[in-house]
Amino acid sequence: MLTGRYFAILIMATLGSLRASTPPAPDFNLRPLTEPQMQGAVFLDALSVPSPGEIFSALNKVCRPNWATLVTPATAPVTTERSQLALVVGVLAANGYVAVEAQDGQQVKNVGREMMIVAKSLGVSQSLLGRGNSLMEFADNNDWEALSDELEATENEVKNTMVDQKDHDLVTLTSAAAWIRGLEIATRIVLSSDSLLGKEELRQPELARRLAAQLNAIPDRMRRGLLVPAVRQTLESTASLLDDPETNPEALRKRFSKIHDDCSAVVKLILNTPAPTATPSLSPFASPSSSTKPGTMTNPSKP
C-alpha cells in the first residue's frame, strides 16, 4: 500500500521535472536576419562556393553554348610547389565539367588522368584511385550525370585529404582556381552573344571578394612568388568589376572582356611549368589580346 503511494509520487515528481524543462514554442513568424546572424553565417567550401557545374547549368538555361568549342586540353605542370598543385586541381576540375557538358569522354578521361598525377604529387592519391577508375568507367559508358557528380566528389576528396593532412589553406586555392577557370569559360560564353546573354548569372562579386579575403589570410609561405598574389588580385578586380551596376552595353562588354582576359592569364600562369629560377615570367595581366572568339554559341535563344 505504502510502496504503491511512493511509486506514484516518484512518477509524478519525474514527469513534473520534465514538463518544467520544456520551454514554450517560440514565435514562428518569419523575421529578417539580423546583422550579427548574417556576419556569423557558416561558410562551407563544399556548399557555399558553387561548383563550375552549377555555373554552366545556369548558363545552359539562358543560352546554348557550343561546349565542344570550349574544351581545352590541359596538362598538369611539372612542379613540386604545393600551392600551385592545389590551384591546378581546381583548373582541371573545371575543365572536367566543360568536357562533361561537351560530352567528350576522351577529354574527361584525360582530365581524370591529370588529376591523378597532381594528386600523386600532392601525396593525396591513395584515396583517389577508386575515383579515377570510376571517372574512366563513366566516361566509357557516356554516363554524363554520373561523371559530373564524380568530378565534384573527386575534387572534394582531394580537398578532404588536404584537410586531413593539415593543409586546409590549399583547399581555398583549389576553390579559387576552379571558380576563376569557370568564370573564364563563362565570360567567353557571355561575350560570344551580341546581347551578352548570361551576364546576370555571373554577377557574383561577393563570392570573388570572399575568396580573395580567404587567400589574404593564408600563410606567407604559400604566398611566395607571383602565383597566389596574381590569383588574389584577379579575384579582387573581378569583384570590383562585377559590383558596379553598369548598364551601358559597350561598357559592360569591355568589363566582361577584362574579366575574361584576367582570368585567362591567371589560368595560363597556373598551368605554366615554372622555370628553374622559380620565378614565373608570365605576368597574369600582361595578356594584350582577348582570346574571345565570336560564334562560340550556336543557338543563343532562350529555351
Binding site: 505504502l2 511512493y6 509520487i9 516518484l10 515528481a13 519525474t14 521535472s17 520534465l18 514538463r19 524543462s21 520544456t22 520551454p23 514554442a25 517560440p26 514562428f28 518569419l30 523575421r31 529578417p32 536576419l33 539580423t34 546583422e35 546572424q37 548574417m38 556569423g40 553565417a41 557558416v42 561558410f43 562551407l44 567550401d45 563544399a46 556548399l47 557555399s48 562556393v49 558553387p50 561548383s51 557545374g53 552549377e54 555555373i55 547549368s57 545556369a58 538555361k61 539562358v62 550525370e145 559530373s148 557528380d149 565534384e152 566528389a153 575534387e155 572534394n156 546576370e200 548569372e201 555571373l202 554577377r203 557574383q204 561577393e206 563570392l207
Partner: protein, 172 residues
Amino acid sequence: MSHKRLILQAFLMLVSLMVAYGTLIAQNAIPSETKVMEPIPTESRRLSLETAGAFVNDGFRIRDGEWSGKLSGGAPLILQVTLFAGENYWFVAASQANRIPLRITVYDATGKPVKGLTWHDPFQEKGERSGSRSAAGIVPNQSGKYYVGIEFVENSATQNGPIDFSMVYCYK
C-alpha cells in the same frame, strides 16, 4: 515506525530527483562532439541524401558537400550560399531524431526571407517513419549571396537538447 517512513520518503524523493536530473543530462548531452570520428555517413546524412534522391528523379543534381551540426530549439543556424538566377534549388535537411519539425528558410543578401516552396514529410508527422525530414525550394530571380536558415520548434513532442542534422542541396 514514523521515523522509518520519513527515511523512506526522503529516499524516494532523492531517487526521483536523481532520475529527473539524469534524464535532463542525457537530453542535453552532446556525445558525438567528443567522439574522434563520426560514423560515415551519419544517419542524418543518409536521411537527407535519401530525401534529396526524390529530387534527383526530377532532374536535380545533388551537391557533394554537406552541412551538418547540432541544432537547438529556437536557435536557427545560418549557412551562406551562392545561387544563380533562374536555377531551381531544393535545400533538404534531415535529422535522425524522430518527429522534429525542422524548418528551412532561404534569405536574400539583405537577410529578407525569400518566398518559395516548402515540403514536410507527411509520414513523419503521422509517426509512420523514423527520423525527420524537411525541404525548401526556391528559384532566385537574381544571382548572388543568399542565406539558408535551419531551425526546429520545441514542443511537448520534441526533445529539448541539441539534435543532429544534415543538410544537402540540389539544383537544376
